[in-house]
Symmetry: C2
């Protein structure tokens, strides 16, 4: 594909993408394929000679689309949203073309520097304490991680290193480090995301999943008791991860009780902020704690300007990194703060619309509270009944949702996921739910 063919094919793809997204409502949100569907649709080895572009392009609808779960369909209500916006896509084309690997400042100064400033913009939008901002002139600042899983792991590993250093000298035998680690213990709530448990697994430290209150929130007293118990047993508590908006039910840990003074904060603009995946925003009050955990410094990555700007390779697990701040820059500028606020408020309002439908039907109950864009609901009755309802709704294929369970109560989760979702779509989701419930109830009476 030479430049002139790229101009043609790239523009065709832009049109295909606009057509796909504008007409996504016509596609079934969850596909009908069964595992292994794709292998038989394409050859079992790569072609020797290059194929024509037309052949590849027509296979998008033949091979790919029948197996796509359309996350941006207004009828997709599963998990939490993943962001997708036209400005994000346009910025990503530029990022792909520049194609730099921004592991050090020198490997592409613009890549590092735009990220530093964008993380300040975003931090100011959230009213983060000054210490988290690079503009404060202190050791704090933000970094784009690929995923929240990685941000959590990085925070845990930094805390681990900090506590190892407290107990042994830097030149000690690594086996002694490991011996100290056998006393470490970390905490999260029993509602924390699976990636927090996994961070403990990877870091080789036990993660205590503490009981939450009736709203699914971790409380200060619970944490304090656990810490006291562990200290009494000779263990070293070194890390707490609090969650604002749990995946099962969007519960908020009580951070005022758990600890007012977090050393890091992470959220995903690639979820609700119109920045295409991946863009997970993490801030720390002291970036030296990150580089302490990760710094390895070969000559081929050294450059003259070390120390004056962050070398982000010391801030995360991968070495290579894309120019992801371009997406943030385009999105923040083209929507403006107000545009992003409006879009989030619209989704919250739609969630409350669905809540009102649920409350209007006495067969149903809301689980917990409707917070942000998530509605947790269930049929009054057994978990089994609700499992049946979930399966019938998803088998029907008009909408797609996933279940969850908190303290042995099984419920259905409807998240407002797509920027194109409207009141009509919410009404459709409700009509599907009610209609299927009617059928389920009458089948049970027979």
């Amino acid at each position: 594909m030479d430049a002139s063919e790229f101009r043609r094919r790239g523009k065709e793809m832009i049109d295909y993408v606009a057509d796909y997204l504008e007409n996504i409502r016509e596609r079934q949100p969850f596909p009908d394929v069964t595992p292994g569907y794709l292998r038989n649709l394409i050859p079992d080895h790569a072609p020797e000679e290059g194929e024509k572009y037309e052949e590849v392009f027509k296979d998008i609808e033949r091979v790919i689309m029948p197996g796509v779960t359309h996350w941006h369909s207004p009828q997709f209500h599963a998990y939490f949203p993943t962001a997708n916006s036209y400005p994000g896509i346009v910025a990503d084309i530029l990022s792909d073309a520049i194609g730099c690997i921004g592991f050090t400042w020198a490997s592409s100064p613009a890549c590092t520097e735009l990220e530093v400033v964008m993380m300040d913009w975003l931090g100011k939008m959230l009213n983060l304490p000054e210490q988290f901002l690079s503009s404060s002139g202190g050791p704090g600042g933000g970094v784009i991680q690929s995923t929240a899983s990685e941000a959590t792991l990085v925070a845990l590993l930094s805390a681990r290193t900090m506590f190892i250093r407290k107990h042994i000298g830097p030149g000690d035998d690594p086996h002694r480090e490991n011996a100290v680690m056998t006393k470490f213990v970390a905490y999260c709530s029993d509602q924390a995301h699976s990636s927090v448990e996994r961070a403990g697994l990877i870091g080789g430290v036990p993660m205590r999943m503490l009981e939450t209150d009736s709203k699914g929130a971790l409380r200060g007293e619970t944490l304090q008791l656990a810490i006291q118990r562990d200290k009494a047993a000779g263990l070293i508590p070194f890390f707490v991860c609090a969650t604002l908006g749990t995946t099962p039910s969007c519960a908020f840990d009580n951070v005022l009780e758990v600890g007012k003074y977090a050393m890091s904060f992470n959220f995903n603009p690639h979820k609700w902020l119109k920045v295409n995946f991946d863009c997970s925003a993490m801030w720390v009050k002291d970036s030296r704690l990150l580089s302490d955990a990760f710094e390895v410094d070969p000559l081929y990555l050294k450059h003259e300007n070390q120390g004056k700007m962050p070398d982000y390779r010391h801030w995360h697990i991968p070495l290579g990194r894309r120019f992801r701040s371009l997406k943030l820059w385009f999105v923040l500028r083209l929507y403006g703060i107000k545009g992003l606020q409006e879009s989030i408020r619209k989704d919250v309002m739609l969630a409350h619309e669905f809540e009102a439908y649920i409350k209007s039907d006495e067969r149903f109950e809301i689980f917990g509270e409707v917070v942000m864009g998530l509605v947790c609901f269930r049929l009054k009755g057994s978990n089994e009944l609700n499992e049946k309802l979930l399966k019938l709704i998803n088998d029907d294929r008009r909408i797609h949702i996933v279940p969850s369970k908190v303290k042995d109560t099984y419920f259905l989760r409807l998240a407002i996921c797509a920027s194109r979702t409207t009141s009509q779509d919410v009404r459709l989701a409700w009509n599907v739910t009610r209609e299927i419930t009617n059928g389920l109830m009458s089948s049970l009476k027979q």
Copy 2:
């Protein structure tokens, strides 16, 4: 930005990208900016109201481009290549638009299934043993990781779990796991990439960096002695990472001696195979060893078809993942195996052209052997002399290279990095090198 504006702006960006890449030769490969250049060029906070697209677009040349290290400039010869191709960019636009998060099969079946088959295609192209392929019907298969750093870490963590399980039961106290780990020891060569040392740091296990032979290769005898010594000291050797093509000098560990039967293999199509970053290909003979290390299984991620196809979230550190196999599919089909072979052979030939220039001038010597697309060279003389030469070459700005050091010998590394590099560019690199050497030599005589 509505759909009609996206059609217009997306197409303008396609043209901008084609213009950028076709005329990249006119841009200086390494920028002139100093750290902090960008902050003063843009506001210190996000705008309240959305801005016009024209404002954002014109800032690409004003704010971004002056600070870009142009990795795809034919005069960029630093690090190793990062891939960039028109088919890769077009495929990535589609991936962004679909915008699915493929953590489970159900979260987008096409995303998982195309990856399974593409990793088989790629594995067959490399003649990997059948056990590494999903088509073998066994527990092996491939997965796209974000970076080789993550692949190495995943392999190490899997080995760690496998050895922990050998020594304690699955229900044991996690603190006992940690106590067993204090005896673990891992190995790589002293030429291994910094990410291997880092994997040890993250995994909490000591990584022995074993001495290499005169060619920078790890030999079987060295490894065997280290293992014997560690076993005699009561330690448990559990992991070896061999490198084919080290970063300092493109040395190849002697894998026939180190161990014929690797359990995993990783290389980066996002380096030399025209697939834009990120796409790091990893194969394993037994994927159950990966999920053993990582599996955490909340209800909201369960689906009806678990076990029939991989849930890739168990194969790596992040939970979320982009639809990256689309890039592989477009690139493999549009270039064909022959097209990719030709492009790699061209780069190898260009490296030998530069080698010939170096050998034609008796002031210079080649360091090691010219393997693949990397030429390691130096002025006969002290390290200090070569450090001066490197600085002068990079300060001149016509080409950009990085240095390296093996066994206290400092040398310069010229890598063929860009698909647009030609014999003329290699001659330019040589002319710059020779001209600056002439200047350096005469300044030393004065």
